[in-house]
């Protein structure tokens, strides 16, 4: 059985933080406060805050991890532990546009492999890679809840469904 949160004791020793701690604008700070206020226990806000940090800094770098630890009264290891569990939390830089192609059964039945091949050729990168200019990253992911409009991908948070190679070209070419 897991330990109820209230019983988890903070470390008695102060933890050494990296030299640099990330900073955020007052607006972003206020946005974080609104999330923290939703919960009786601060730690619950860890995922919403990680998404805000990613939006602001691209990914969760060590200064951001140090910041979150301070902000949530946690140890840096607590932050890393959570960050490394969830596939949508990035501890490495990703491209400005992260193309995430669903590869699960319903999409596969309707040709997701063709979409992957097309994207890969168009961008000149393999799945798991980022273009040298840092503009695109390409991933294959598991079912995104669009099985009725397969095949599909998500670019950052935007859904694109009923894809064909022609439609993929239009979508990618229209990105700013």
């Amino acid at each position: 059985m897991s330990t109820p949160l209230a019983q988890i004791k903070p470390l008695s020793q102060p933890v050494t933080m990296p030299a640099e701690v990330a900073t955020f604008s007052p607006e972003v700070e206020a946005e974080m406060d609104r999330h923290i206020a939703k919960y009786p226990v601060k730690r619950s806000a860890i995922l919403p805050l990680m998404f805000i940090v990613q939006r602001e800094r691209g990914y969760l770098d060590p200064p951001a991890v140090a910041y979150l630890a301070e902000r949530l009264d946690l140890r840096t290891t607590d932050i890393w532990e959570v960050a490394t569990f969830y596939s949508m939390i990035y501890t490495q830089p990703v491209g400005k546009y992260h193309i995430q192609i669903c590869k699960t059964l319903s999409c596969k039945l309707l040709g997701s492999e063709k979409i992957t091949k097309h994207c890969s050729e168009k961008l000149g990168i393999k799945v798991g890679e980022t273009t040298p200019d840092g503009r695109f990253s390409l991933s294959e992911v598991e079912c995104l809840g669009s099985c009725g409009t397969a095949p599909m991908f998500q670019i950052n948070f935007d859904y694109h469904e009923n894809l064909t190679p022609e439609k993929v070209d239009q979508i990618i070419d229209a990105l700013p």
Binding site: M1, S2, P4, L5, A6, K38, Y39, P40, V41, K42, R43, S44, A45, I46, L47, P48, M50, F51, L72, E81, V82, F85, Y86, S87, M88, I89, K103, T104, L105, S106, K108, L109, L110, V141, E142, C143, L144, G145, S146, C147, G148, T149, A150, Q154, F157, D158, Y159
Partner: protein, 429 residues
């Protein structure tokens, strides 16, 4: 994609096609927030639980546990706060109905949560939404603000003594967080590992306080149950499977979509061939996974001319399960070895790593399937895979292990030809 009711008046899908269906005004103009009004004016928490019990509503998240009974497990005398947590993680492959409910009719979910919170005495409630559905979190946040502005949420709701809050929360891409105890770990800001049951969440859930976790479709059924009465809702379905159910249909059909059917809809073949427009390109039906990736795959001959009844009992009798209602249709060109390998890769990827049988077992399953796929199949591999499944099923810490074993077990049993071809031909080659 089609969103429609077949064989019954649309209930859950009643408002989805209205213009501005998301807005509080449209919701109210079409019967919205009448149920919470009725509850606050004339019903005790026990009255509400009794109506839900009478409705024979069973959890739509996958396990099908009777909702009224689950609610009655929450101890009334606990001094701790209580929580209602809506499970909007929707990551079971083939399932996409919760998404449209929230996208098109967010206030129905808010009203459902409010009624549950009243019945259980919960003051703070959360909607746990998978991280990829960020646009739905934004939609829900707007709807929650609208409700707050109209006195439907917050202090003294509709001028009564009932006060309650609902907050959205985001997951971050982990299928296991749909499992209710893992979801609670995740909501507490931890890695999404499942917890031991008992204690069940109803007794010790979020922050070790009594908690009810219910699926979006379950909670959105509640306002209608209150309005029409539990019995009338039950009668829309069958004796033990009350009401209507949403089916997410994908794969090789001409009209994929979200279909609302009465529980006990009497013919799965007709559903596929007529309601969903039949198989694409005039091909033959080969297989159906009727309840999301975790349930047993069915052969066409278990469906055609079999009058398979679509409800909890009917699908068990036909050799599968309702699960989440993620209905995946496959035509004659599909190699069931391939489709099974695809789903096994899913489970390997999503195994949370907490317990050995599932973490190591799913990894080995994928290794063996890949070896077979690359031409290294051996006649004894079918047995090897089944042995491995035996060591995962029933021996893992949470049901994800079982869910990983079932697709393989049923595929090898029901489509032996697709496996044998690989094992023998490739073995000799």
């Amino acid at each position: 994609m089609r969103i429609t009711a077949i064989g019954c008046e649309p209930l859950q899908l009643r408002r989805v096609h209205l213009e501005n269906s998301r807005s509080l005004d449209v919701y109210r103009a079409n019967g919205g927030y009448e149920a919470i009004r009725k509850v606050l004016d004339s019903m005790s928490p026990d009255d509400v639980i009794n109506e839900v019990k009478k409705s024979q509503l069973r959890g739509r998240g996958g396990a099908g546990f009777p909702t009224g009974m689950k609610w009655s497990f929450v101890p009334k005398d606990s001094p701790k706060p209580k929580y209602v947590v809506c499970n909007a993680d929707e990551s079971e492959p083939g399932t996409f109905k919760d998404r449209y409910l929230m996208e098109r009719d967010p206030h129905m979910l808010i009203e459902g949560i409010l009624i549950a919170a009243y019945a259980l005495g919960a003051k703070t409630n959360y909607i746990y939404t998978r991280g990829e559905y960020k646009y739905l979190i934004d939609i829900m946040d707007i709807a929650l603000d609208e409700a707050r502005a109209e006195g439907l949420l917050g202090d003294k709701i509709l001028g009564t003594d009932f006060s309650c809050e609902i907050h959205t929360h985001t997951g971050a891409g982990a299928y296991i967080c749909g499992e209710e105890t893992a979801l609670l770990s995740s909501l507490e800001g931890l890695r999404g590992h499942p917890r031991m049951k008992p204690p069940f969440p109803a007794v010790s859930g979020l922050y070790a306080a009594p908690t009810v976790v219910n699926n979006v479709e379950t909670l959105t059924a509640v306002p209608d149950i209150i309005k029409m009465g539990g019995e009338a809702y039950q009668e829309l379905g069958t004796e033990k499977s009350g009401g209507t159910k949403l089916w997410s249909v994908s794969g090789h059909v001409n009209r994929p979509g979200v279909y609302e059917l009465p529980m006990g809809y009497d013919d799965m073949e007709k559903f596929i061939m007529e309601d969903c427009g039949g198989i694409t390109n005039g091909k033959q039906l080969k297989a159906v996974i009727p309840g999301g990736s975790s349930v047993y795959i069915m052969r066409a001959d278990q469906i055609v001319d079999q009058d398979v009844r679509m409800d909890y009992e009917g699908l068990v009798a036909a050799g599968s399960m309702v699960g989440s209602g993620g209905f995946i249709v496959m035509d004659e060109t599909v190699d069931i070895f391939e489709s099974t390998k695809n789903l096994t890769e899913f489970y390997k990827h999503e195994s949370c790593g907490w317990c050995t049988p599932c973490r190591e077992g799913t990894d080995w399953l994928v290794k063996i399937l890949k070896r077979i796929d690359n031409g290294g199949g051996r006649p004894e591999d079918a047995k090897l895979l089944l042995d491995l499944c035996d060591n995962i099923e029933g021996k893992s810490f949470c049901p994800l292990g079982d869910a990983a074993a079932w697709p393989i077990q049923s595929a090898i049993k029901r489509f032996p030809e697709d496996f044998e071809r690989r094992l023998i031909q490739n073995g000799k080659a």
